[in-house]
């Protein structure tokens, strides 16, 4: 009941004309930018972050929620028509979606992606509404030791599951943590790793890191390894309407995918990448028409797209209730909160109830807006895709560098951006995951301050992390997670010896 009342207040906020307008602007802008090949939700949010510095917090966060959803939706259009997944969570969609488009069924593929996103997104927001107050209630009991343990757990799971190997994932996590240390230490005012460069003294901005890795790094990579290949943009063919059979095959896939995606989103497992593949695998196994898989089976689009949306909403549960981002995009959203001096977590639900519930209500609204706006606008998005690649990337870089430059009006930020671009190029080339670096940068300073607070409370006794049951359990799980592959290997080798 309390939740319903809070949600009603939230709708009161979200449906105010100004906020509704920000929602519309957000989903439209998000879709328009997300549809650009190579531009995923993380980059979209990062590029638009510096431009909203002057909005009021509620409007800005509603705008970002819209951008978040819109960018994901735009990405699926690109994947289906162009077969260049803008982010790893879209790879599964590319498998079947692009084949459907090649066979002249682009319309139903886009429709099942859009309606599936709506269904999964809406169910996931309902789940978010129900789950969030429970987590908040629980999290209110957390002290610094529990938060620190939780952050360590999130760090290690994200680093361990993403990228080509655990060593590379952890290396990127520590790189992110190191970057997070740059600048003034909040507690003592000590300058760390700034080397007297004024631009480094307030720390490294997450916008510079994310735009450097995702935009500059991506542009360098695509130029070096993909720019001399032809690629085919599939025509927007076939009616947008799905046949009775398409509906019959899509429905169960949407629902199953939501059931897979949402829980996966809420745990720190790197966001939407894994659930989309799980959903694809589930649909492939359960389908009555296995012969169509690999040649454009509609379940193969309906499932992963719905899973992507459900998981991306699930990611907002730990972000809003605990302040823990578990994907690169969530880390940048956290930076958006911090720009307004807001720290997501259980206390925010109490101190800023109208803002938090307004944001949640705006997600219901955003899902509807996306469906209403985007199906009719598909023709426009297809035109965006037809922009020649050289002009497209040149334009992306003009906007990407603009965001970094506008931070301090300094060319030093452009240099930092290029250095991160080189790093992003190397990471993309040699299988280092990006998300742990971004999460390390944004969450590292918070983890450090929780650690030092816990140590101050215990008068410098590190046993505090082992004496409190929740903290100890989380840390034990973390150790287990790192050691599990080795233990597993040793066990298998022992067995093989027998």
């Amino acid at each position: 009941m309390e939740t319903l009342a809070a949600l009603a207040t939230g709708f009161g906020v979200a449906l105010q004309p100004a906020n509704l307008l920000w929602g519309v602007v957000g989903v439209t802008l998000g879709t328009a930018i997300g549809v650009l090949p190579g531009v995923g939700p993380a980059l979209t949010v990062a590029m638009l972050l510096p431009l909203t510095a002057k909005l009021d917090p509620t409007g800005a966060l509603i705008l970002f929620a819209g951008i978040y959803y819109g960018a994901m939706y735009g990405g699926s259009t690109t994947t289906i028509l162009l077969n260049t997944p803008g982010e790893s969570a879209s790879i599964a969609t590319a498998l079947e979606g692009n084949r459907m488009a090649k066979r002249g069924r682009a319309g139903p593929a886009l429709a099942t992606a859009a309606i599936g996103s709506f269904v999964a997104g809406t169910i996931a927001v309902v789940l978010l509404t129900l789950v969030a107050p429970v987590v908040v209630e629980f999290a209110l009991k957390f002290g610094p030791a529990e938060y620190f343990a939780l952050m360590v757990f999130a760090f290690v799971t994200v680093a361990a599951v993403l990228g080509a190997s655990m060593a590379r994932g952890l290396a990127m996590l520590f790189l992110g943590l190191l970057l997070g240390l740059v600048g003034i230490d909040d507690q003592t005012g000590q300058m760390r790793f700034a080397f007297g460069v004024p631009e480094l003294m307030d720390g490294i901005d997450v916008v510079v890191l994310a735009v450097g890795l995702f935009a500059v790094g991506e542009a360098l990579y695509v130029a070096a390894y993909q720019s001399r290949m032809g690629e085919t943009l599939e025509k927007m063919s076939g009616s947008l309407w799905m046949s009775r059979e398409d509906w019959k095959r899509s429905w169960p896939a949407w629902l199953r995918a939501t059931a897979i995606g949402f829980p996966f989103g809420t745990i720190p497992a790197g966001g939407a990448e894994i659930p989309t593949f799980l959903s694809y695998a589930a649909e492939k196994r359960l389908t009555k028409r296995p012969e169509e898989f690999g040649h454009g089976a509609i379940e193969g689009v309906a499932g992963p797209e719905a899973a992507n949306n459900a998981a991306s909403t699930g990611v907002l549960v730990p972000l809003l209730t605990l302040g823990i981002p578990t994907s690169a995009t969530a880390a940048i959203l956290l930076a958006a909160f911090q720009n307004y001096g807001l720290q997501p977590g259980p206390l925010l639900f109490q101190s800023q109830a109208a803002l938090v519930w307004g944001l949640i209500a705006s997600m219901y609204v955003g899902n509807v807006l996306l469906l209403v706006l985007n199906l009719p606008l598909i023709g426009l998005w297809v035109k965006v895709l037809a922009i020649p690649r050289p002009l497209l990337y040149a334009g992306i870089l003009v906007f990407a560098t603009l965001g970094a430059y506008s931070l301090h009006q300094s060319w030093v930020d452009l240099l930092t951006l290029y250095v991160f671009g080189l790093a992003g190029f190397a990471m993309r080339r040699w299988g280092f995951p990006v998300a742990p670096a971004v999460i390390g940068l944004i969450l590292g300073p918070l983890a450090e301050s929780q650690f030092r607070r816990a140590m101050a409370i215990s008068q410098g006794d590190p046993a505090v992390f082992l004496e409190r049951p929740i903290a100890a359990t989380l840390l034990a799980l973390t150790v287990l997670l790192v050691l599990a592959p080795w233990v597993w290997k040793v066990v298998r080798e022992r067995r093989a010896l027998r």
């Binding site: 060593a167 790189l175 190191l178 720019s227 870089l397 003009v398 009006q409 190397a426 040699w430 101050a456």
Partner: protein, 170 residues
């Protein structure tokens, strides 16, 4: 021993890079003051932990390399991903664009810097029409400049075009 080749060399360079970053961070961390207080951990504690982690991970990557190459769950070879070989010209043109922008933005101004960036990047991606690209880049730069300075009230350097922009009442 793993097969010697560009792949091994890249892995060696990157492993050593992680290790070197860790050592450099450690060198800074050990010169930070203790200033611990009640918590018995001060501003130098996390830097030491992070530096130690990077050194350990550099060593881990080197160990993987010495015992048969980096472990990989997914393919990390462009050819396997259906991409073409490294195109040096493309890489250098994009770099040139970004460096040109850094050099130009302060004195020549945002619009000219954006034009240079745009033209170089387009060239890097294989465009063969530099005049058109420069024109498009300058127009885009001008549009962004006007939108930001007039509409969002974010100041961007006008540079050499200041008399022109100022003269036109912009």
């Amino acid at each position: 021993m793993p097969p010697r080749g560009p792949r091994t060399r890249a892995e060696l360079a990157l492993s050593l890079g992680v290790l070197a970053l860790g050592l450099a961070a450690a060198a800074v961390a050990f010169r930070l003051p203790e200033a611990a207080g009640y918590a018995r951990v001060g501003p130098n504690f996390m830097p030491k932990v992070v530096a130690g982690g990077l050194v350990a991970l550099g060593a881990w990557l080197l160990a993987e390399l010495a015992t048969g190459g980096w472990r990989s769950r997914v393919d990390d070879d462009p050819a396997q991903r259906g991409e073409h070989a490294f195109h040096r010209g493309a890489f250098l043109w994009v770099t040139a664009g970004l460096v040109a922008q850094m050099a130009l933005i302060r004195h020549a101004g945002f619009v000219l810097a954006a034009g240079a960036l745009f033209a170089c990047v387009a060239r890097g991606f294989g465009s063969a029409r530099p005049a058109r690209d420069a024109g498009l880049g300058l127009s885009l730069g001008l549009a962004v400049y006007l939108f930001f300075t007039k509409f969002l009230n974010v100041s961007l350097p006008a540079g050499w075009l200041a008399p022109l922009l100022g003269g036109a009442g912009l």
